[in-house]
């Protein structure tokens, strides 16, 4: 199967848009035949990924745009998240130990726990950052 675009959306990096992202990801999961358990996990991972862009790339108050693209290559759903903020410190993107009980720091852990593959990087010319995640679907 060729890789099929499920949808691509551009939205402001604002917390009140997250509910819209969750709704779209949920429907995308259902559309591609994911069961409810898998769909719920995809929603969690994508919500956390967008949160990280809002909080850490755009630092909660800088205006900015997020682009979310979802593709299906037949065996995997591929999620590409792009922002146009200043390049982030890639070494700082790591999950914390769960035994270290404190508020915060769970987002990266959730993403890596749920997704089969994750790749982060900078856009060419320092134009922003990207996060690509893949999840195997039956």
């Amino acid at each position: 199967m060729n890789t099929e675009l499920i949808f691509e959306i551009h939205f402001p990096a604002k917390a009140d848009r997250l509910c819209l992202v969750r709704a779209l990801v949920k429907r995308a999961g259902e559309l591609t035949g994911c069961n409810s358990e898998l769909t719920d996990k995809l929603v969690i991972a994508l919500n956390e990924a967008c949160m990280n862009v809002i909080q850490h790339a755009y630092k909660n108050d800088e205006p900015g745009e997020i682009v979310l693209k979802i593709l299906n290559n037949g065996s995997h759903l591929i999620f590409r998240l792009t922002d146009f903020a200043a390049p982030i410190d890639l070494d700082s993107v790591k999950p914390r130990e769960l035994e270290d009980l404190r508020p915060g720091g769970l987002g990266v852990y959730f993403i890596r726990e749920i997704m089969d593959e994750c790749r982060i990087g900078h856009l060419d010319g320092g134009a922003g950052n990207y996060l690509e995640m893949k999840k195997k679907i039956d």
Binding site: L18, I44, N47
Partner: protein, 110 residues
């Protein structure tokens, strides 16, 4: 997110409902900490929570840790399936005291 507070058996009970995400978790955090500032033991009722993200969970963790420092009791009751999925992912279902109802918690307190 909506919230409501009531009292039961010596506890403040904070009922959260709807989605507890980054757009409103600061409100959840504020309500949790205000209840504890009042010197009351606190139960957070999550039966109406349809979604909670890591920022919402962070508010619960901060409440739990603040309660411990103040030597106040803290727990969760009526955790919805959506909330439990996230707590289990974070392995916090083994950290927070969790009961099905306020009554169950009061009974457990003895």
């Amino acid at each position: 997110m909506k919230y409501n507070t009531r009292e039961a058996g010596g506890y403040a009970v904070l009922e959260l409902s709807g989605d507890v995400d980054l757009s409103c978790s600061p409100d959840a955090r504020k309500q949790i900490l205000q209840c504890l500032e009042g010197g009351k033991h606190l139960l957070v009722d999550l039966s109406g929570v349809t979604y909670i993200d890591s920022s919402g969970v962070a508010s619960l963790v901060e409440g739990y840790q603040t309660a411990r420092k103040k030597q106040l009791r803290f727990g969760l009751v009526g955790v919805s399936e959506a909330a439990m999925n996230v707590l289990q992912l974070a392995r916090l279902d083994k950290v927070f005291p969790i009961h099905a109802t306020v009554g169950d918690r009061l009974q457990a307190d003895g």
